[in-house]
């Protein structure tokens, strides 16, 4: 019954969204742009979790909900599951995706042979732009979990592209 769009439309939309918020709407305020993008992700995650938990029995604890995010939710969004889930059993979970779909089109910086010639500020800029693209999926995860009754904070870690880790800290 549902209508579908091609995946390249989603890719283009997300790229353009990050670019618009960072360069036009909040040109000199990257923190505000990041918060707005994350808020959009929050609402999307909220609504998607409503839809994808429809036929399922209720979750008995936090771990079940996180496993749902890693398996079913991620498969619906990205056609694959989270590759690695780590926890410290005290409310922090690390979800690692070894080939994050929305980052596959992003170029990875080739560092020069002698690393001293690369300006550290340029490398920092590149990292900042790359991390802007991750606020939306962080928001999606946060929205989905808070709709399941688990308030949390989600941050992303891209120390080795194209693998990407999402750190979920559940608020006590």
């Amino acid at each position: 019954m549902g209508r579908e769009v091609s995946e390249s439309c989603i890719d283009s939309l997300l790229t353009e969204m990050v670019s618009t918020y960072c360069n036009r709407f909040y040109a000199n305020k990257p923190e505000l742009a990041a918060r707005r993008i994350e808020a959009i992700g929050y609402q999307v995650g909220h609504q998607l979790s409503e839809r994808y938990t429809m036929e399922r029995p209720r979750f008995s604890d936090h771990l079940e909900a996180i496993k749902f995010i890693c398996k079913d939710f991620w498969s619906e969004l990205f056609k694959k599951q989270i590759d690695n889930l780590k926890t410290n059993h005290r409310g922090t979970f690390v979800l690692q995706d070894n080939h994050f779909r929305w980052l596959t089109r992003m170029s990875i910086d080739q560092s020069p042979e002698n690393g001293a010639s690369e300006e550290p500020s340029i490398m920092a800029d590149n990292k900042a732009v790359q991390s802007m693209h991750l606020y939306f999926p962080c928001g999606i995860i946060r929205g989905a979990l808070s709709n399941l009754g688990i308030p949390c904070a989600v941050s992303a870690d891209i120390s080795n592209l194209p693998a990407c880790s999402f750190v979920v800290r559940i608020k006590a």
């Binding site: 979790s49 839809r51 979750f59 009754g149």
Partner: protein, 143 residues
């Protein structure tokens, strides 16, 4: 015959209440829905061994009043659906089917980007879909 359906959010705030009778007892129906929320909470927090398993969405018959039966359904996102009916011989399968279609209509209504989570559902499409589901309730059963 279904008399009233209600959608209640996770903070027990009403999201949608619709009664389907001509009589002017909307207030009494709202009161019944309100009382059934306590039963839902009790069912979820104190599972009886003879009741449904802890993590099922369909909660079954909540409590019968003098001429109504009240059924409950709790989603994963802690949203409660309440169904009040005057049928005395309604089948379990019919009610489950009803809640399944009602859940689908609710998910579509909430996916509306103009809907604010926590506020009442004002979509006319949702209201029409609900009245269609209500009208076809129990009609598929023979006799």
């Amino acid at each position: 015959m279904i008399v009233c359906v209600a959608v209640v959010g996770h903070q027990n705030n009403p999201l949608y209440i619709q009664s389907f009778t001509d009589a002017d007892d909307a207030l009494k129906l709202h009161h019944i829905v309100h009382c059934s929320l306590d039963v839902v909470d009790e069912r979820v927090n104190n599972p009886k061994k003879s009741g449904p398993p802890l993590n099922e969405t369909f909660l079954g018959l909540l409590y019968p009043t003098e001429n109504y039966k009240v059924y409950g359904y709790l989603t994963n996102t802690k949203v409660k659906f309440i169904l009040v009916t005057t049928n005395l011989d309604v089948r379990d399968a019919d009610v489950r089917n009803f809640f399944r279609r009602f859940h689908a209509a609710y998910v579509d209504a909430v996916s509306n980007p103009f809907h604010v989570p926590g506020k009442k559902i004002t979509s006319r499409t949702f209201a029409e879909r609900v009245s269609t589901i209500v009208k076809s309730f129990g009609l598929s059963s023979a006799g």
